[in-house]
């Protein structure tokens, strides 16, 4: 039994040492890792810890589709064109200026001079060509975004001289520049791609404000300041650590103790408590999303336009916003948010009017109402904090007008698959934009080409389709906006969905964090973030 006493003794020591540790504890809000032997350099900017819900799957943005991956790569890589600080307007990035030919098929970009990749090699026209050649040559699902945004549109990418690149297109691609600004098209060091081969996804080398240091899977990604960054005075921080804390409440707890400095994926229900805490602050991401209840245009009573309109009148959107979004959302009337060029504000949304809904149902021959399934998302998304609760509220709204909705839910993968196949009567879903272009909402979600793909509502309207195609094949922005506005009127009339809300996802941070600007695309650039002294 001696051994057991040994164990007891060890345990006793363990508990004792913890007790002692508790006494001389300095709370976790230590900003500068002075004694931790951090990578030399000036250690004035400190370390920012960003808490998030999931890990990256890849640090090469070209081979992934996951938002969590872009959150990190946004700070390592830069794109030829950059979005605005908090919008999706196009600004110079690695390209300082650009011009397009008369016919809209040739784009010439002048590149920024004196930029170096983190491995010391030069950023130049050759590097740009190398990257595009790589994405073009790769197989379809490896470079998913390249294929979905550019497909076979880019005929040739040519280095005219050291700092000039010329793109030749097969046909006009209206969102060409907006696409170039998307995170997946960050320009990587050709030397590093060749050196690391298959392992490039864990050894990212770009031109961005932060350099990659370490990735502990499912735990953290550590980036350090790029001392040679081309923009004078940036970045402000010495180090950024993206930490995975899967559970929302636990993530907020870690922010409370100062273990992390910024968190995303804040429950709307926690916003009030955060705003009442002097040590914390909230940030809102400008909305680039839509949450909707899709109505399967090919199933049962939903085939009838009048029924779809009736259901639109039955829903009290403001009540949803007050109950589940802590007010941080706008009621939706179009399939895309206001910030997207071409948004038609003249569309009159369906107001909350149960009487009118009943009337329409009566006209459609459903005076007694009907029964249907209402699918509730099993996961929380920025546009849908709690699918089950939202579904219950909608169920109640529909019951008011005599429609019995049975709430159904599946595990997320199954849910998407079945909904895509058209097995749902009605289903909750949403979309966060990639590039802020109307095409990325309207065509993707509501064009007949995309039935069996993202057009889960299986909405088909030839007239709308023609407008979308026309808008894709012109570079005249004013003309495009006109076409999209027209399409939105038709869509409103057909009511393929019930557009619910455009949410402003909430983030939170310690009170001493400044210069943080949440970006609508969900990938935040942290170059200007610093700690108040």
């Amino acid at each position: 039994m001696k051994r057991r006493f040994g164990l007891m003794f060890f345990a006793f020591i363990l508990i004792l040492s913890l007790g002692l540790a508790g006494c001389n504890n300095e709370s976790g809000g230590k900003k500068t890792g002075g004694e931790s032997g951090s990578d030399g350099g000036s250690s004035s900017g400190g370390t920012l810890v960003f808490g998030r819900g999931g890990d990256s799957t890849s640090l090469d943005p070209a081979v992934t589709t996951e938002g969590e991956a872009f959150k990190v790569t946004k700070n390592i890589y830069e794109t030829l064109i950059e979005f605005g600080e908090q919008d999706t307007e196009i600004h110079p990035g690695l390209a300082e200026s650009w011009e397009e030919s008369e016919d809209g098929l040739k784009h010439t970009l002048k590149l920024r001079k004196g930029v170096k990749f983190h491995d010391g090699t030069d950023f130049n026209a050759e590097a740009v060509v190398f990257n595009f050649e790589r994405w073009k040559a790769g197989n379809k699902e490896q470079f998913y975004y390249y294929n979905s945004q550019f497909g076979d549109v880019i005929k040739e990418v040519k280095a005219v001289d050291e700092h000039t690149v010329e793109f030749t297109l097969n046909r006009i691609l209206a969102p060409f520049y907006k696409n170039l600004a998307m995170s997946p098209f960050g320009i990587a060091s050709p030397a590093a791609i060749e050196k690391h081969g298959d392992k490039f996804i864990e050894n990212p080398v770009g031109t961005g404000p932060f350099k990659f240091k370490e990735w502990k899977r499912n735990d953290r990604v550590t980036l350090v300041k790029n001392e040679d960054y081309w923009e004078e005075g940036l970045p402000k921080l010495d180090e950024v650590i993206f930490r995975v804390i899967p559970e929302n409440s636990a993530r907020l707890n870690a922010l409370n103790t100062g273990e992390v400095d910024i968190i995303d994926g804040v429950n709307f229900s926690d916003v009030e408590a955060i705003e009442g805490n002097a040590d914390l602050q909230t940030f809102y991401r400008p909305s680039l999303n839509v949450a909707y209840l899709g109505l399967n245009n090919e199933r049962g009573p939903m085939k009838d336009k009048k029924v779809r309109q009736a259901l639109n009148y039955a829903v009290n959107k403001q009540a949803l916003i007050d109950a589940f979004y802590a007010g941080a959302a706008e009621p939706a009337k179009n399939p895309m948010p206001k910030s997207v060029a071409g948004y038609n504000d003249e569309v009159e949304g369906y107001e909350y009017n149960p009487e009118k809904a009943k009337e329409l149902l009566k006209e459609a021959g459903f005076e007694e109402g009907f029964e249907m399934e209402l699918w509730a998302m099993p996961v929380a998304r920025p546009y849908m904090p709690d699918g089950k609760k939202v579904a219950e509220a909608l169920q109640k709204d529909f019951a008011e007008v005599g429609v019995k909705a049975k709430i159904v839910s599946y595990e997320w993968a199954t849910y998407l698959e079945k909904a895509r196949m058209g097995e749902a009567d009605t289903f909750l879903l949403g979309w966060t934009g990639d590039n802020g272009d109307a095409d990325n909402f309207l065509y993707v979600l509501l064009d007949q080409d995309n039935i069996d793909s993202n057009n889960y509502a299986r909405y088909a309207n030839q007239e709308v389709h023609d407008l979308f195609i026309k808008a894709q094949s012109t570079n005249d922005q004013a003309e495009r906006e006109k076409l999209y506005k027209e399409a939105q009127l038709l869509i409103k009339e057909d009511a393929p969905w019930i557009p619910l809300v455009h949410s402003e996802p909430a983030l939170a941070g310690r009170a001493d964090v400044t210069g943080f600007k949440a970006h609508p695309t969900g990938s935040d650039l942290l170059a200007t973030v610093e700690f108040k002294k």
Binding site: M1, L7, M8, F10, A11, L14, S17, L18, A21, G22, N25, S27, G28, K30, G33, E35, S36, T47, V49, D55, T57, S58, T65, E66, N139, K140, E141, Y144, S148, I201, E202, E214, K216, R217, N218, D219, R220, T222, I241, R243, V244, I245, P246, E247, A250, N253, A254, N256, T257, E259, Y410, E411, W412, A413, L416, E417, R420, D452, S453, N454
Partner: protein, 334 residues
């Protein structure tokens, strides 16, 4: 004893083989196609077909199974569909994290559980006995999820003495050598980090230890009571031995077998609790690794992860069996 051990180890092979087959089919029976999951809302018919082909999931099942099995024999656990890297190279840090947490949790559970059970039996029907058993009842029925968040709220936010999540202070990260951070920090003589690592261990280990602690306490108490009623204990008392020695030497030795069984089982079951604990405390362990893999239908990771856990489970059972023989000479294996 040696022959028996060897025989036991060899008998594991059909068990694991059968298990690999069951897991292989079970995960393929889950609805939801990996290609659909990986592509999420961006899935199109063509993209799904292409990706399925790329992942080798369009092959007939028996081809897939034997490819997998062939890999296993050469120590290749397959490649994660999601991260595209070899599982054998990425699984160790997760496994080490879970082992470290489980070890500390089990230590707490055994030390406190066994002793609470003994004292309860010794002073049967005392306030301590009632208190401990009520506590054990609460412990068994407490959801880890809730307990974990409460712990964070109390010890981290209100008392500010312990961190809420992770394995280390990320602003002062540990250099992983063995991936057992307690050992790594000691090797490197980083006492500051060693203390940090211990502090990060306390809350998740306590949360994970609660259920086994309660179960161990109850089993220890009941077996001890039984033993203490037996004749030889009365004899020992009559001989004038002090109660302490009677309880801790004679009784415990005879009561420990069922307790050992429970400890073995609970250690295996710890992995189930580990998924929840690891999620709440952001502990990058194997439980969460497999959980994420299930969410993403990452077949190879689920297969190999479960296989490794099963292997650990049967090994623990083996150790328990061998301990029986060591403790109780009446248990003879031929």
């Amino acid at each position: 004893m040696f022959a028996y051990s060897v025989r036991r180890i060899f008998s594991l092979i059909p068990v694991l083989l059968g298990l690999s087959l069951i897991v292989f089919f079970m995960i393929r029976a889950i609805p939801g196609d990996p290609a659909q999951v990986i592509l999420g809302q961006l899935a199109t018919k063509d993209a799904i077909a292409d990706l399925t082909r790329e992942l080798g999931l369009d092959q007939p099942w028996y081809v897939q199974y034997f490819t997998y099995l062939g890999g296993l024999l050469t120590g290749d656990l397959g490649e994660s569909l999601r991260t595209k890297s070899a599982i054998s190279s990425e699984i160790w840090p997760y496994l080490a994290a879970t082992m470290e947490l489980s070890f500390v949790a089990m230590l707490i559970a055994i030390v406190i559980g066994v002793n609470a059970g003994i004292v309860s039996a010794w002073f049967q029907n005392s306030w301590f006995d009632y208190g401990a058993m009520v506590f054990a009842l609460i412990g068994v029925s407490m959801p880890i999820f809730w307990l974990g968040l409460m712990e964070q709220w109390l010890f981290a936010i209100n008392l500010d003495i312990l961190p809420t999540s992770g394995r280390e202070e990320v602003r002062n990260p540990v250099d992983a050598i063995t991936n057992f951070y307690i050992i790594d920090t000691l090797i490197q003589g980083r006492t500051d980090q060693f203390v940090e690592v211990l502090k990060h261990l306390v809350l998740p280990a306590m949360a994970l230890a609660t259920i086994p602690m309660a179960i161990i306490a109850r089993i220890t108490r009941s077996t001890m009571l039984e033993v203490m009623r037996s004749d030889f204990i009365r004899t020992a008392r009559a001989k004038g031995l002090s109660m302490f020695w009677v309880v801790y030497k004679h009784s415990l030795k005879n009561a420990i077998i069922p307790v050992l069984t429970i400890i073995g089982l609970q250690t295996g079951l710890l992995l189930g609790g580990a998924i929840l604990t690891e999620t709440i405390f952001s502990w990058p362990g194997i439980g969460r690794y497999i959980y994420e893999a299930i969410n993403y239908r990452d077949y190879p990771v689920i297969q190999s992860g479960i296989l490794i856990i099963a292997l650990i489970f049967v090994l623990i059972n083996l150790v328990v069996d061998l301990l029986y023989a060591a403790i109780d000479p009446r248990i003879k294996y031929r």
